[in-house]
């Protein structure tokens, strides 16, 4: 990676903004364009930019979690989001919504948990591939 001062400086500001954008995309998905897939991709792009601007070990440090564990955690969350329905005697993955309306996040329910699972998985998958390619 050729060190570029412009990219390095810009990425330092872009990373938190892009992560915020990715979470925004994630949470608005139910009622407006967005969702777990796009959120995960945007977050992955953010970390990939960071890896381009600096280097992969630093990007891994900022990520803090190993991409493999992100994948596992994401799949687990997504699968677990279907379990509350089983406990209620309904088919696996029947949505269960909470009655309360949170101020910023909106309605909470198992589909949101599923979206988060998808987000984490996509993030993990993309970063696993990108980091492995970059490290060589």
């Amino acid at each position: 990676m050729m060190p570029s001062l412009i990219l390095a400086t810009a990425v330092r500001y872009l990373l938190p903004l892009l992560l915020l954008l990715s979470i925004f995309d994630l949470l608005r998905g139910h009622n407006a364009p967005g969702g777990g897939f796009v959120g995960g991709l945007v977050a992955a792009a953010a970390f990939a930019l960071y890896a381009l601007a600096f280097d992969v070990p630093q990007a891994r440090r900022v990520l803090r979690v190993d991409p493999l564990q992100l994948i596992g955690g994401g799949l687990l969350t997504a699968a677990a989001s279907g379990l509350p329905a089983l406990l209620q005697g309904r088919p696996f993955m029947t949505a269960w919504w909470g009655p309360w309306l949170l101020p910023v996040l909106g309605k909470m329910g198992t589909p949101v948990l599923f979206e988060i699972g998808v987000y984490l998985t996509v993030l993990g998958v993309t970063l696993l591939i990108i980091f492995s390619l970059a490290e060589g």
Partner: protein
């Protein structure tokens, strides 16, 4: 119900075992043994309450739409096996604690063992044939994990794979057979099927159905010609061999045949095929057992032989033969379990399993050798052990087998003679021999290791002396369950002087004779066993390597060489198939009118895309090509926006960006950018590309003409808000209506990523040379 708790706690125990081992390594084995012990006590209690002769049933919905329920059907037959499974399971768990002491993977072993035990219990307690199949396959899976426990050894891995492939292929056949059975019998529930025997047997599908089920049962119970995986599985640790390959898993096929005999039995095919397979297996197993020098292999082949006897008895299809089969089930579990556990203890203490080097072991390992000898005498059928009672019942059943009696009895006597000789080979040298030369100083083993063999062998003696302990409570209910009529079973050591006694004493004498002449027999037998080199084991090896070779040749032909070649083959095939369909079936293409009704900005986006394509094809550096490709991608995303698909466009934008980043990361590793194709090749590729594009265009134009009324779009549009509480219909479909599809997709993503990761990490220093990625 309680049965569900049994299965659930078994699975839970399997999941928690490694954790428990990590927390309390010294006590984990004993604590975990409480689980099978608890099951055993529960089943003993059930024995009392079931003496009325009715079956205990319970049912839980699993997939109601397919008549696939988690049902339980517990009668005498199930209980007999359940007691064996849980009882020997307890002893094996305790044994494993000492046998695997010091092994860091012991927690994992317990997990696999408990998983196996639970699935085996599921097989014998199940009341729905589909649920039975699920548990059946689970036993194959856990057996794979257990046989391959010493996974760093190549022969362990090979043997585990062999067992898995053979029993798995049999499992496929079994599934087909069970599905047919359910169709013909009208239900997958056992209690219904057991009443529909007449319909099943008289239907035209009966032979096919029977054949498939037999393949499944024969592979699992190591009948000829599927027997070869069992001796191979002896690389497993001793507790595994004792539990799976002597007492329980190999009996699953026998159980299935016994369980389905009211439905499938009683016909000419049944009474021919089963005895045929049984006799072949019985004879071959007994003979080969005598030729072995390794203790465990001798035990393995004799197990194969006894499994053959069991199948033969079930094939004879009389009440007496079923009685003999049930008693043999119990006897064999007791003595074989004891023998395998003792063999493992000997191996553990001395470091070898070669009989010739273990002479006179009794001086150093009295308890273990005594248990071994007792069990061996039961195997040989000496009174007053239970084995004697079992042998007498065998002969009685064979003598009354109708027209086949002479043949069957003769074969039985021959096989038993060899088994007696085999029993001699594995006990006499230890007791009276000399010349102990072993790697490790021999010493008696700790309690955990001799408790199992001693208890099991002792039981053989005790029940032999007091057969009343099991004849009314265990054997009779089992036989009644199979024959569906009340039966009286009275086991006794002495039945008076009759032909059966003559046969059994003759067998013992002849066996002793063969034993004394064993070296002669072994020499003679070895050339015959040499024929085995062209036997089923060889076919398996040839088949497997043939499959490998075929895959290699086909991949090199279709997918080797430049990527352009592979893509070209795919395109030509698709063009050919679609073109052929087009010419035959689809109607004409509806060409849009001229001038085209395109808005200015739409036209600009299309021009941008076209420009990007031309730039990509004519680029003189990789970076240019990638950027131009990115322009094409962004253009397509813009089209998505223009035509009202914002989610798709967002995803496309993100993917294009990431692809560019990906390419930039890969560039440094690729060889120099050069022109690798000649002009005529490029011309050919251009024509191919244009044809493919024209095909897709034509396809779309032809499809658009047809009337298209979707019931899905209005449904989703109407129900998105009330049912799924979301206004973004696309997202709602992905996450809610079709959530399980998405779950599958992200799993596939994860697996693909793991594959890429593995490939990248494996090509550490190697040049990625042979694959040109142009």
């Amino acid at each position: 119900m309680f049965l569900l708790i049994v299965i659930g706690s078994g699975l839970g125990g399997a999941l928690l075992a490694p954790l428990l081992y990590r927390l309390r390594p010294s006590a984990a084995g004993r604590l975990l043994a409480l689980l099978p012990a608890g099951f055993f006590l529960y089943f003993v209690a059930l024995v009392r309450s079931l003496e009325a002769g009715k079956a205990l049933t319970a049912s839980f919905a699993w997939v109601p739409g397919l008549d696939f329920h988690l049902s339980f059907y517990v009668d005498g037959l199930s209980l007999l096996l359940a007691l064996i499974i849980s009882g020997i399971g307890t002893l094996v768990t305790i044994y494993a604690e000492s046998y695997l002491a010091g092994d860091p993977l012991r927690g994992r072993f317990y997990a696999y063992l408990l998983l196996f035990m639970t699935s085996m219990l599921g097989v014998v307690l199940s009341g729905n044939v589909l649920a039975l199949f699920v548990f059946w396959e689970l036993t194959s899976l856990s057996s794979y994990l257990l046989i391959g426990f010493y996974h760093h050894q190549e022969d362990s891995r090979g043997a585990a794979l062999q067992a898995l492939l053979v029993t798995g292929a049999g499992g496929m056949a079994l599934l087909a057979g069970l599905l047919l059975l359910g169709q013909v019998g009208g239900s997958y529930e056992l209690r219904t099927l057991l009443l529909r025997g007449e319909e099943v047997r008289s239907g035209p599908l009966y032979p096919l159905l029977l054949g498939l089920v037999l393949v499944g049962a024969f592979t699992k119970s190591a009948q000829f010609p599927f027997h070869f995986w069992l001796p191979g599985a002896m690389v497993a640790p001793a507790p595994v061999s004792a539990y799976l390959h002597a007492a329980t898993m190999v009996k699953a096929g026998v159980y299935l045949l016994a369980r389905l005999s009211p439905v499938l039995g009683g016909t000419g095919e049944w009474q021919f095929l089963l005895p045929l397979g049984g006799v072949l297996t019985m004879g071959m197993g007994a003979f080969l057992a005598l030729l072995q020098e390794d203790l465990k292999l001798l035990l393995a082949y004799s197990t194969v032989s006894v499994l053959g006897i069991l199948v033969l008895l079930i094939g004879l299809d009389t009440t007496l033969s079923m009685q003999a089969a049930m008693v043999l089930l119990v006897v064999h579990a007791l003595y074989k379990g004891a023998l395998f556990l003792a063999a493992g203890a000997i191996d553990h203490a001395t470091g070898t399993r070669e009989i010739s080097r273990l002479g006179g072991l009794v001086r150093f390992m009295p308890i273990t050798t005594a248990a071994l000898a007792l069990a061996a005498f039961s195997m040989a059928g000496f009174p007053p052990l239970l084995g004697f009672i079992s042998k007498e019942l065998l002969y009685e059943a064979k003598l009354q087998a109708g027209s086949a009696a002479p043949f069957v009895t003769t074969a039985g006597v021959l096989a038993n003679v060899f088994l007696v000789a085999g029993a001699g080979v594995l006990s006499v040298p230890f007791l009276f021999g000399r010349g102990l030369s072993v790697p490790r100083p021999p010493h008696e083993v700790p309690v955990g290791l001799w408790l199992g063999p001693a208890l099991l062998a002792g039981l053989g003696l005790v029940i032999g002396l007091w057969p009343g302990l099991i004849d009314r409570t265990l054997v009779a209910p089992a036989v009644e369950a199979i024959r569906a009529q009340p039966t009286e079973v009275r086991l006794a050591l002495w039945h008076g002087l009759n032909p059966v006694l003559l046969l059994s004493s003759g067998t013992i004498l002849a066996g002793a004779g063969v034993f004394l002449l064993r070296h002669r027999v072994q020499q003679g037998g070895r050339w015959m066993a040499g024929l085995g080199r062209w036997g089923p084991a060889r076919w398996y090896a040839v088949g497997l390597s043939g499959l490998d070779g075929l895959a290699r040749v086909q991949t090199r032909w279709l997918q080797g060489g430049p990527l352009r070649q592979h893509v070209g083959i795919v395109l030509i095939t698709t063009l050919g198939l679609v073109g052929w369909t087009f010419s035959g079936q689809l109607g004409g293409i509806h060409l849009p009118g001229w001038p085209p009704q395109v808005r200015t900005y739409e036209g600009m986006v299309v021009l941008m895309i076209l420009g990007g394509i031309v730039a990509t094809a004519r680029a003189s550096s990789r970076l240019t090509a990638v950027v131009a490709l990115g322009v094409v991608g962004y253009g397509v995303a813009l089209l998505y926006i223009l035509f009202g698909a914002p989610d798709l466009a967002m995803t496309q934008f993100a993917i294009e960006t990431l692809t560019v980043i990906l390419f930039v990361l890969v560039f440094p590793r690729l060889p120099r950018f050069t022109l690798r194709s000649r002009p005529w090749q490029r011309g050919r590729d251009l024509v191919l590309a244009l044809l493919a594009g024209a095909m897709m265009t034509g396809l779309v134009l032809a499809v658009v003409v047809r009337p298209f009324q979707s019931r899905l779009s209005p449904f989703f549009a109407e129900n998105s808000v009330p049912l799924a509480q979301g206004r973004n219909i696309v997202n709602v479909i992905l996450v809610d209506f079709r959530g399980i599809d998405t779950l599958g997709e992200i799993t596939v993503l994860a697996v693909a990523a793991l594959g890429v990761y593995a490939l990248l990490k494996l090509c550490l220093d190697r040049e990625v040379g042979g694959e040109e990625s142009q």
